[in-house]
């Protein structure tokens, strides 16, 4: 191949080639288009020429697409900001004109480069004031809420329960990181800090600044005075941190709790604060199930199976009850006996750690699989004495109107299910303690934070509550995995992403089935 094959711009091109290229580009008039189409039908050479011209065109798709680059966008914007930064020789009027884009650039997700000289910017008093306002608005909620009651906030900071609550929130990621600005009056330092903020934080500041600017001048003045007053306190740093944390926490309280805290009676106020702190800690406990990683949940489940094995070794009747119950349920519910066995085992394991009625434990199909009446409306005993028997309203559940208890079971008290659940005693403290060996260090740290309470009895209660919540979550994941695995082939196929379905469509039937089975099994550990 030589360069001579390449047509230069001044060299003639074959008229048919030119015609065909225009045809492919849709640039021909209707008349010309029809003429070309007729020739394509009649002339084989003409058709082949079209195909050959199409070849190179289609191959251009091989050129890689360029992906979006945040780095390129950010550096481009930085160059622009450098371009618009005011120079010392500019007049004040020019500076005012560029002030808005400068501060907008500062906060509207634009970065600053080192080329923006702090010295240059700080010569401008107006701009300095702007930076000060930005430092104020970072703590806007704190100043508005607690600015007039500094002593209350100092007292709060001295409250050990408050500190425990903050530590727990911080450790489980429910407390925003400390503010960066406002720790110093130095505008140069604040400007550097603003430069270092990520884009989303800068946008947040911009939003706060707009809010502040919308206030009446008197209100703005008042907030500035509070900010100045706080900055002059000897414990300024701690005070500001408490104010920020208080503002965040206050937002999460109920109206009643807020009313109590706003009370003028100091005793009532103190009591309201203590109640609200306890309520927050309780909420953290309850939500702790979402704080644990799936890897730790898998490990916990493994630990629970060891507990289960130990229990069934001690009492072999449990396994017999499980086997009989599985067969009964499989017949009654017309499901696969393996599926029934897996589900019932998980329900039984959940019985170890959770004594709520079954419909409260599992709000999904597993409840319909086992619709066994008990005093509380679900299977198994509560921590009280064994009662069994009909539901609270006296009716038995089941399709047959409950004449025989759960459909297919001879009677509640004697049913294999009842024997299984009633034969299980709750998990012991020692067993719960042993399960902590399956948690990683980070999770153990979270557990410590959540249970770091003053009194031993409170610590123990918190520990048991959290471990039970985590154990139940581990079991619930397994239930979901098995339910997913039990879906029909069509249901599994339809749950796939479009790209995966396209890939599966091309497989032979046996590979397709294997592909659907394997991808289901990959969800969660069995």
């Amino acid at each position: 191949m030589s360069e001579s094959v390449i047509l230069q711009d001044d060299q003639p091109v074959d008229p048919d080639d030119e015609l065909l290229v225009s045809f492919m580009d849709g640039e021909l008039s209707q008349t010309d288009r029809k003429r070309v189409e007729k020739r394509l039908v009649d002339e084989k050479n003409f058709r082949e020429r079209l195909q050959s011209l199409q070849t190179g065109w289609e191959w251009l798709d091989e050129l890689p697409e360029e992906s979006s680059s945040e780095q390129l966008v950010a550096s481009t914007i930085e160059l622009v900001v450098t371009d618009i930064a005011p120079s010392p020789s500019q007049t004040k009027r020019n500076l005012s004109d560029s002030r808005k884009p400068f501060l907008v650039a500062l906060l509207c997700g634009l970065g600053l480069v080192g080329g923006v000289s702090g010295v240059v910017a700080m010569r401008n008093a107006e701009l300095r004031k702007e930076i000060e306002d930005v430092a104020i608005v970072e703590h806007l909620d704190a100043y508005e809420l607690g600015g007039n009651d500094i002593e209350f906030l100092r007292e709060l900071a001295r409250n050990p329960r408050w500190s425990q609550m903050l530590n727990a929130q911080r450790d489980v990621g429910r407390l925003q990181p400390p503010a960066l600005l406002g720790q110093t009056d130095d505008p140069d330092q604040n400007l550097d800090l603003i430069k270092s903020l990520p884009q989303n934080q800068r946008r947040q500041l911009e939003s706060q600044l707009k809010k502040f600017r919308s206030y009446a001048p008197s209100r703005q003045r008042s907030i500035r005075e509070i900010a100045k007053s706080v900055s002059q306190q000897s414990d300024q740093s701690t005070l500001l941190a408490t104010m920020d944390a208080y503002a965040q926490w206050y937002d999460t309280l109920t109206d009643d709790q807020k009313d109590g805290i706003r009370s003028n009676d100091s005793d009532k106020r103190q009591a309201a604060v203590e109640d609200a702190i306890e309520s927050t800690l309780d909420g953290l406990l309850k939500r702790s199930g979402t704080m644990i990683s799936s890897e730790n949940l898998d490990q916990l489940y493994f630990g629970l199976t060891l507990v289960w094995v130990a229990r069934t070794n001690e009492d072999p009747k449990l396994l017999r009850s499980l086997s009989e119950a599985s067969k009964s349920v499989a017949i009654a519910r017309q499901v696969n006996v393996d599926y029934a066995a897996k589900m019932l085992k998980l329900v039984a394991m959940s019985q170890l750690v959770d004594d709520r009625p079954l419909p409260e434990r599992f709000r999904n199909g597993i409840s319909s699989l086992i619709r066994s009446p008990s005093r509380s409306g679900g299977p198994g005993p509560s921590r009280g004495p064994d009662t069994g028997g009909p539901n609270r309203d006296g009716r038995m559940s089941g399709r047959d109107g409950g004449r025989r208890g759960v459909s297919g079971f001879p009677g509640v008290r004697d049913s294999p299910l009842a024997k299984l659940f009633l034969g299980l005693s709750p998990i012991t403290d020692t067993e719960l303690e042993s399960l902590t060996e399956f948690l990683d260090d980070e999770t153990l740290d979270d557990l410590d934070s959540l249970t770091n309470l003053k009194h031993e009895i409170d610590r123990q209660f918190a520990f048991e509550s959290i471990m039970r919540i985590w154990c139940f979550e581990a079991i619930r994941r397994q239930v979901t995995a098995i339910e997913q695995d039990n879906r029909s082939m069509l249901e599994k196929y339809l749950s796939k992403e479009e790209g995966d379905r396209d890939r599966l469509d091309l497989l032979p039937p046996d590979e397709l089935k294997r592909g659907l089975d394997q991808s289901s099994r990959s969800f969660g550990r069995r």
């Binding site: 070849t55 091989e62 979006s68 884009p101």
Partner: protein, 198 residues
């Protein structure tokens, strides 16, 4: 762009985000070297910012943007000294195709002299196509990229490149003929399939 004209920095950032991948792709073929594509893209956006007050309402932004991009690419090539000075009105640019053509020539010869043992795949195929495009003249390349990847009409390409529609038609015809000529030996040698993967 009208908001950018009013110094709206957020609007400008939006434009940068939207157009930068397309510009980078253009600059990979139009710039003197592929690795300069991002720098040239940034330079283009800087020029857009500086010229924002001159943007006319009613003008299509992409046409304006790619006009600037073409100028940036051309200037970069000149400043790197890899091309002769070109009078854009009178004479066609003299493409420095020797590098690309040489590589393609040697590959094609090698391919035709051997039993095709494998198809060129993936990145190698992309490289063959990139070199084929690189082998075209600068104006043919620009017209090809604008037509193929920006879906511009002949009239829009003409406005972007400062040419007549007739000139664009001729440029594109030559570009596609040349692509065919450059890639055909690869197809004939069985090194690349005649069929494009779906």
């Amino acid at each position: 762009m009208l908001r950018v004209r009013e110094d709206d920095a957020a609007a400008y950032e939006e434009l940068v985000r939207k157009f930068h991948p397309r510009l980078v792709r253009l600059m990979r073929t139009m710039g003197p070297r592929p690795d300069l594509a991002e720098d040239l893209t940034q330079e283009t956006f800087m020029r857009v910012w500086r010229a924002r007050h001159r943007y006319e309402a009613g003008a299509k932004f992409s046409t304006w943007l790619f006009t600037i991009a073409g100028n940036v690419a051309r200037n970069s090539a000149r400043s790197l000294g890899r091309r002769h000075e070109v009078n854009e009105v009178d004479a066609p640019s003299l493409p420095d195709t020797s590098g690309a053509m040489g590589i393609l020539a040697s590959n094609a010869l090698e391919a035709s002299g051997q039993m095709p043992t494998r198809l060129v795949e993936g990145a190698e195929r992309a490289e063959v196509v990139r070199l084929a495009v690189q082998a075209l003249g600068e104006r043919q390349r620009m017209a090809l990229m604008l037509s193929r990847f920006e879906n511009m009409s002949y009239a829009e390409i003409a406005e972007t490149m400062g040419l007549t529609t007739k000139a664009v038609k001729s440029l594109l015809s030559r570009a596609r003929v040349n692509l065919r000529e450059v890639l055909q030996p690869y197809i004939d040698a069985g090194v690349i399939s005649n069929e494009v993967d779906p």
